[in-house]
Amino acid sequence: MDIGLLAQHVMNGLMVGMMYALVAVGFTLFFGVLDVIQFAHGDVLTVGAFTALVTFLGVRAAGVGSGPILLSAMVVVSIFAVAALGMLIARYLVLPLRTAPALNTLLITLMLGTVLRESVRLFYPQGANPKPFPALLPTNSINIGNFNLRLDNTIMLAAGVMVIIGVELLLNRTKLGLAIRAVAQDEETARTMGINFLAIVLVAFAIGSGLAAFAGIMNGFYYNEVNFGMGLYLGVIGFAAAIIGGLGSIYGAILGGFLFAALQTVGTVALPFGSAYKDVFAFAVIIIFMAWRPTGLIQEKISERV
């Protein structure tokens, strides 16, 4: 296989891996902080993408034609709206169920996910059809042999990396991050130390959901299309990625996301009967992986008093 083709495959894998990683980080944050699996996360991503689309249409209809303004409006409105949605979910759905078995929360959020998905389909005009997403990023591209290097993909990849680095800095270098990590480690002690548990949980959910919105917008720009079912698939893969990486570890989630994308790419390229089975291949490898390392690549450090 020639180098240009390989480069193209790698680029595709990186883009997709970035999106999986962003979703996986959300899952891992929620699990780390509250020990819950928030299965509506994928559909929260869909809401984010559609909120961005609606913002775009609204702002453009109000007469604004400038690309950068539209772009920033879309990103800002979508992230804040979805962060608010995440906080609502945390406050009114997840927190009250903390004492119930974790399975209940998983099921309830799964159902909430369906409600969100179907609401988008029902309330957005002709929601069942895929919707074109505006191409606001510059579309210049250079053809290096078989490799088509696009400026918009590069920008998105760079933005994704910066967001991930930003989250990492937030969690490891700020007091807020310290508080989040404290709550994740031991809720009771954290409360004893004076950390406002409710506020931290809400902030963690806001961050995770905001990341999902960002991933949704990236998805929209990458495929130039959004549809009501986009979050379901990404949610499942993001969850699987978070698990392989080790639930509770941000680095693990990122690693898991890119690992899954790599598996899919290898599956498409290496398998003779090709791309129809790339998901089968990727998930099969994940299963074997989890049998080998059930707690994931980067285990969450827990200490138990005996």
Binding site: N129, P130, Y222
Partner: protein, 388 residues
């Protein structure tokens, strides 16, 4: 007299008149409709449902009709397992005499056995897989639209005539996509075209960059797509993202307004083929469009609305002739020959298939599906990608 009193007297007078005119109670007869009302292809399902509903309404408004019809609608979600449930429900309900069923081929082929087992006469209005009528010889199953064999024949013919030699095939892995792949590959091989690669994809797949990257390396002149609108839109958009310059050649599955809406300017120059003629060119097309518009439905009839209307109308004609009895309707449908309908004359062969040989070629021009012969591509004013 006060206004209120005058109003009351007027209402009483009307009510008395209505009571005096004898209301004839016609026997109620139930007919059924199954289509994808939710999911990615719901635009076609809803258009078909509205069209079938239109047929029932017009028949009920007809004073010469012997029965009063009620339409029972079920959703098959374009998923075979859901379709079998819906079909079983409809067929087991003895009140429903006949039904117009299915847009998706994967659902139509999954349910033929159900209809046969329960003896419910059905007329397929949108699914094009040949096996639906030809795999078994079930007297219950009929179809008013054509099959994909003719479609793909015409497709291969046009493209080889235009001078294209290398093709890549992308098809979805349902019976629909696989059928298209089979018939197109055979039709192309007969005409000397070369298929450089075949790729099967999931019917709700989001990301095609991997497949398209490989296709880019193979450098075909045409990408043939055997599948439905949702993924057709995605593949075409991602083709552009990867800088692939080739003709996007589709089937009846992408002939829909939703395809053009989903792509905007990128849809320009897409080819597709469909049995029958554009609705306004059908013999009863104008009549159908006028009546449809008058009902003010939320959704347009889409590509197969006229066929759904014709299917339901045929069922209603049959019931009028032989009465609301499933077995008699099946016997009557076996004898359908040169029956008039809005889509032209319908004749069922021994497998219940309407022998419609007309295939219309379409190309997207300026945001609309235009008949090929009428388009500027055919006259040479515009050129398809990589056309010599």
């Amino acid at each position: 007299m006060t206004r209120a009193l005058k109003a009351a007297m007027a209402i009483l007078a009307v009510a008395w008149l209505a009571a005096v005119v004898p209301a004839e109670a016609k026997d109620k007869v139930k007919v059924g409709f199954i289509g994808p009302l939710t999911g990615g292809v719901s635009a076609n399902g809803l258009g078909g449902r509205n069209s079938a509903d239109l047929a029932v309404r017009l028949r009920n408004a007809d004073p010469k009709a012997k029965y009063e019809y009620e339409l029972v609608v079920l959703d098959d979600e374009c998923k075979p397992n859901v379709a079998v449930q819906a079909a079983t429900k409809m067929a087991a309900e003895r009140d429903i005499v006949a039904a117009a069923t299915h847009y998706c081929s994967s659902t139509a082929i999954a349910t033929v056995d159900v209809y046969h087992r329960f003896g419910l006469p059905v007329v397929v209005w949108g699914a094009v897989l040949p096996d639906i009528t030809y795999r078994n010889k079930y007297p219950e199953v009929h179809r008013v639209n054509g099959t994909m064999i003719n479609q793909n024949d015409t497709n291969a013919e046009l493209l080889t005539k235009l001078g294209y030699k290398t093709f890549a095939v992308i098809h979805d892995t349902t019976d629909y996509g696989k059928g298209h792949n089979e018939y197109f590959s055979a039709a192309l091989a007969k005409r000397g075209g070369k298929i450089v690669g075949t790729f099967g994809v999931g019917s709700d797949q989001q990301d095609f960059t991997a497949e398209l990257t490989q296709i880019k390396a193979l450098n075909p002149e045409v990408i043939y797509f055997g599948g439905l609108t949702p993924i057709g839109v995605r593949i075409r958009a991602q083709m552009d993202k990867l800088g692939i310059k080739a003709v996007f050649d589709g089937t009846s599955g992408i002939v829909s307004d939703a395809y053009i809406q989903g792509l905007g300017a990128l849809a320009e120059g897409t080819l597709a083929f469909r049995e029958g003629a554009p609705t306004d060119k059908l013999p009863g097309g104008k009549f159908f469009m006028e009546k449809y518009a008058a009902q003010k439905y939320d959704n347009p009839p889409e590509a197969y609305g006229a066929f759904a209307y014709a299917a339901m109308d045929l069922i209603l004609d049959s019931i009028e002739k032989v009465g609301p009895d499933r077995r008699r309707v099946i016997e009557d449908m076996a004898k359908v020959e040169n029956r008039d309908s809005i889509i032209g004359k319908i004749t069922f062969d021994d497998h219940g298939q309407n022998t419609v040989s007309l295939i219309t070629k379409y190309v997207v021009q300026d945001g609309k599906w235009v008949v090929w012969e009428d388009s500027e591509y055919a006259s040479g004013k515009r050129k398809l990608p990589r056309q010599k």
